[in-house]
């Protein structure tokens, strides 16, 4: 079985992004004042990770569809 590595990468970063952004929404703002110059880095970086993960997933799924279409057209000679 040939795994498209963009799939697990996209999935993992999407999960990371959701977890971080979600935690950013509910966490105590005090931790950001103490660590990250007052910026809610969990929420912000969570969105960045989510965007990257989603892009990877999208690319992987489009490639999969293209491969599937390629295979069907090859199975139907003359089409």
């Amino acid at each position: 079985m040939d795994l498209d590595v963009r799939l697990p990468i996209g999935l993992m970063f999407s999960v990371f992004g959701l977890l971080l952004a979600g935690f950013g929404l509910v966490s105590d703002p005090g931790i950001y004042a103490a660590h990250s110059l007052g910026i809610n880095v969990n929420f912000d970086w969570g969105l960045v990770l989510l965007a990257f993960g989603a892009t990877m997933l999208l690319v992987a799924l489009r490639a999969r569809r293209a491969r599937a279409e390629d295979a069907t057209s090859r199975r139907r000679p003359g089409s």
């Binding site: 795994l3 697990p8 950001y32 660590h35």
Partner: protein
Amino acid sequence: MLIHLGVIDHCLLLVYFAFVLGIGFVVKKGVSGTKDFFESGRALPAWICALGFIGANLGAQEVMGMAASGAKYGIMTSHFYWLGAIPAMVFVAVFMMPFYYGSKARSVPEYLKLRFDEKTRGFNAVTFACMTVMSSGISMYALATLLRSILGWNLHLCIAASGAIVFVYTFTGGLRSAIYNEVLQFFLIVFGFLPLVLLGLKQVGGWSGLTSRLAVVATRNGLAEGAWSHSWKFTGAAQSNPMGVEWFGLAMGLGFVLSFGYWCTDFLVVQRAMAAKDMSAARRTPIIAAFPKMLFPFLVILPGMLAIALTTDGGGGAHFSLPSKGGSLNYDMVVPAMLAHYFPSGLLGLGLTALIASFMSGMAGNVTAFNTVWTYDIYQAYIRPHASDAHYLAVGRAATVAGIAASIACAYTAAKFNNIMDVLQLVFAFVNAPLFATFLLGMFWRRTTGHGAFFGLLAGTAAAAAHHGLSLPAGAEPGIKGGWLSIVGPGVHHYPSEMAQNFWTAIWAFSACFVATVGVSLATKQRKSDEELTGLVYALTPRPREDNVPWHKQPAILGVLVLTLTLVLNIVFW
């Protein structure tokens, strides 16, 4: 320094482990023979091999060590990239990959066997196998001690757990699984450390704020103001820059011998390019890898520069300072200390996951290189030559088990006898230093003979050892740091720094190997016919044709582009 992890941090860590193991299990279904297990079926696209290529090299030494050097030496550390990596990566892609990928060799030692003879291959295979196991053991030990010191975790548990995880995914999916995980780890390291740089830069007021603080660091160390923020400007004399090296030693030792020796002959990285689906992809692998590699200084060196700037002049209300050890700053703790300072719970989990990923990618890279060299170049060559493919696959899997077990043994040896590991590492450095001369002559001078290569290597190793024994970095006692031959009589030469001594050891080793290989080759008969050398030597190998290849897929054009960009970076940070 103890860091407390929250539930969210543990969640991120667990998600990462689940994906790492999951990849191993999914890829396992595609492994049906040795070609799949050791060479990934030679079916991967160039971009995956490229990210695996730097992922395998992006071990803990890179992340933690380069940050430490960034604090210690400033932007001069970028020489390990813009001088000591990119040119060699372009060279291996354009000139050497046609021999590696185009010949029937499945590994670097096997190339030596085809080009020279059995003894040269055996020498390289055995030393390389020992070195990979040791590096992986040291990685394991370093990870375990780090996790113990910052998280309070149990040392034995850390060694066992990291060994078990790497074992599962290299045992099941072989090289492909290792490469896929390296790609994953690559992105994780980028996304895990980037916020650190962004937050640090924001705090110090950008690059100009950083340089003005680094000027204070430099003057306090008795150097000119720009010594931490210029890469070439102060290399006219070894005493005027923090690294203690002058431009010639830097360019020849690091930029030529050490860097070409590593990127062009180390099977750990070359194996990734050899897994590519065709010659064109194999040649593009190191060049595509060079693009992100070029930018890594901003990811791994900047945190160190920020850390030392904030420690020396904690302006901006940073209240950051590097932990100290034995009265001086503990540079190795740059990354963990910065993570603990800037990352709140949540992002901290991501940063730690990235750090652990860097250790594991280094370990897995070594394990996959080890099982291949063991199976092809030691077992198949000397122990059981004509067995079935299924047998060698089983041996490869067993070698994975043995490799990890040996790594664990090494990790415990390192824990017990710190000095023994240092001595062994030194011995391997001696063996490796001259290797590039052997390859250079072997690939570009058809007259080079097997005896020439073998005795050249021995002479180079001996020269490296002798130079080390006769020289000493400033402030060091004779012993592991060098100068041990002074016990038997001769005086020692003093270098301004350990770095300068290392670079010159490499230069001597290379030169001795080069001269001895040429001398012995001229004195001995070439036993290989031109036919046998076709595909192995430049003059006898047809150039790969690139008639209908678009420009963005041509290694030479991409190589020039990479080198131009690197030159620009060198000038900008001159």
